[in-house]
Symmetry: C2
């Protein structure tokens, strides 16, 4: 009996039967007590809790999941964990989830559809109760698997035509409009935009919102001043490099995210440009780091906690009240401008 022996040496691991025996009740009563069923008398409930304490017992979640069909596990898939935006988002999401008795499974897709597929599959294997796909609009086709398996899902900026899927809409335009008028008010007329990769839905939206904002502000926008780059520090360095090759250069740059903006700050410094005197820079996300760049970065804030909360609520709505057709299927998260030191009036020479 190798198994028995192993368990014997392991010693503890009390199970529901151990508790029942100690409390002198049936295992059903133990189960009811733990799950807060109102049908248990105070007398027995007390005995059970005491036994639980005494044994330092806790239920086996796998057994629970197996019989109840619910794992109290939530998946969250982010694009790239090395962008500080995402850890911050994950942390918020975890906090909320744990507070509600859920555990989370985190994966990053690294913008690779194959990795995304494997993440989804692994989450399905673990029987997650729902998945938040925070990849901001890339390769959502893989998600068919989730939808087919009837798992609640919430996407950032991407609509899936399925009753189990909800969407978080990001209102970038408010923040971007504020950024453009902030710059315009400072006297800038030549503003460039370092866009994110076009395969990202969010990057395209941000770019379009920028174009609209410029248009509405009556500001001309040169074709060459909109450059596609990666949402990374290196992307920012590269994008800035391209801008510098131009003969007509902008006096301000709005970036599709903070990482690009920080890359620009770095590259501008290397080129001997002073920010904000020679060049104003605005990021988007307002990651914690933005406050500590040199100079502190003016940024369009996208609240991680708002986003995390929306994602959790969306999932919970689908999970805990499934089939309710009046469940909200769309959530909105807004943006706003945070002005710091990286923006200022353009110098006379510009």
């Amino acid at each position: 009996m190798p198994r028995k022996a192993a368990r014997k040496t392991a010693g503890k691991m009390p199970d529901i039967r151990t508790v029942a025996a100690l409390a002198k009740v049936s295992i059903a009563t133990v189960s009811r007590t733990i799950n807060g069923s109102p049908l248990v008398s105070d007398r027995l409930s007390k005995r059970v809790w005491q036994a639980i304490k005494q044994l330092n017992y806790f239920p086996n979640t796998h057994a629970r999941t197996l019989v109840s069909g619910r794992s109290r596990l939530l998946g969250i898939i982010v694009e790239n964990i090395t962008n500080p935006f995402f850890p911050e988002l994950v942390q918020s999401f975890e906090e909320i989830a744990v507070k509600h008795g859920y555990e989370i499974l985190v994966s990053s897709s690294n913008s690779d559809p194959e990795i995304l597929t494997s993440c989804v599959r692994r989450m399905l294997e673990r029987k997650v109760d729902g998945v938040a796909v925070m990849t901001f609009g890339e390769e959502e086709t893989v998600l068919d698997q989730l939808v087919h398996r009837n798992v609640p899902i919430v996407l950032a900026e991407f609509k899936l035509d399925d009753p189990k899927a909800s969407t978080i809409l990001l209102d970038y335009s408010t923040g971007i409009r504020a950024a453009v008028s902030h710059l315009a008010g400072l006297g800038h007329r030549s503003i460039a935009f370092l866009a994110g990769p076009h395969h990202l839905h969010s990057a395209v939206t941000r770019e379009n919102d920028f174009r609209t904002a410029m248009h509405n502000a009556g500001l001309p926008l040169q074709k060459k001043w909109v450059i596609e780059c990666d949402h990374t520090l290196k992307g920012g360095v590269a994008g800035f490099g391209q801008l510098q090759k131009l003969t007509a250069r902008p006096t301000a740059i709005v970036c599709s995210n903070d990482m690009i903006a920080i890359g620009v700050l770095r590259a501008a410094y290397m080129d001997g440009l002073r920010v904000p005197q020679d060049l104003s820079v605005i990021g988007l996300d307002d990651i914690d780091f933005a406050e500590f760049t040199l100079p502190p970065l003016t940024s369009i804030r996208l609240s991680r906690s708002d986003l995390a909360r929306a994602a959790f609520e969306a999932l919970r709505a689908q999970t805990e009240d499934p089939g309710n057709p009046k469940m909200p299927r769309e959530f909105l998260v807004s943006t706003s401008l945070v002005v710091r030191g990286s923006t200022g009036a353009p110098s006379a020479g510009s």
Copy 2:
């Protein structure tokens, strides 16, 4: 029959029986096939795999865990996910784990023993096969729970007297010694140290290693030049502030981690000090960001992937070959200096 009905509407979710039926074999054969048992004939194996593909079936991990006692889940507890060092570590750990068929559960303790306790408990509930405690030497008492439950555990810089526990030793001294001689070579004699909080074992070790390095280099160390601060950007700002209040100021600062160093960079800039002309700064960790600070940060590199790999191997050794007394119980991860732009010769006036 509410449950039946629910399953009916859910539609799919083929189980091992479905596969067995389609392949016209017993469920035992399906199980064997999936688990790569050599006792299955090619003929049947082929039939089974085909049925699996056709149904897009995959096993229920909870059922597997319940019967086998192994969850293929690994926990990792970090101190603070907003320090970029940790996401980078987690990512490495996840990569390795997933490659070996494990999933990971992440939690941050935020240096709060209560949170740590709840993390440990939740991980125990999920029946993790092992836990990597990457909090670098704080409040390890809570971990008794893990040890008592006989769960393999690996700690950074903390030894637990238990056969299930292993330790990763960090060799800071190599890197710190290199940092000090780098500065000495540049002509610095007045070097300060912004230490981490003393409740962290790692912070104390780093500080001691610094003292030793200074001593060995024949450099005097003023009492007031060693200041305890948080391992955060704000901590760095505050620590620098204290240093500035002194009449005798150092020409170089070595910091207990990169976050402190980046805070110093920021505060120095605000005070009008130029780095490295007026002040040299060295960090520790070498987070990805270090390359992109202004100026780029000279830092003592602590490889996340080395650390992650050591942690995984330690856990795996305990998990997959338990009871083997010759299993290595200690792992060593080293550090090295990466020189960038934040260090230079002190200016004449200093």
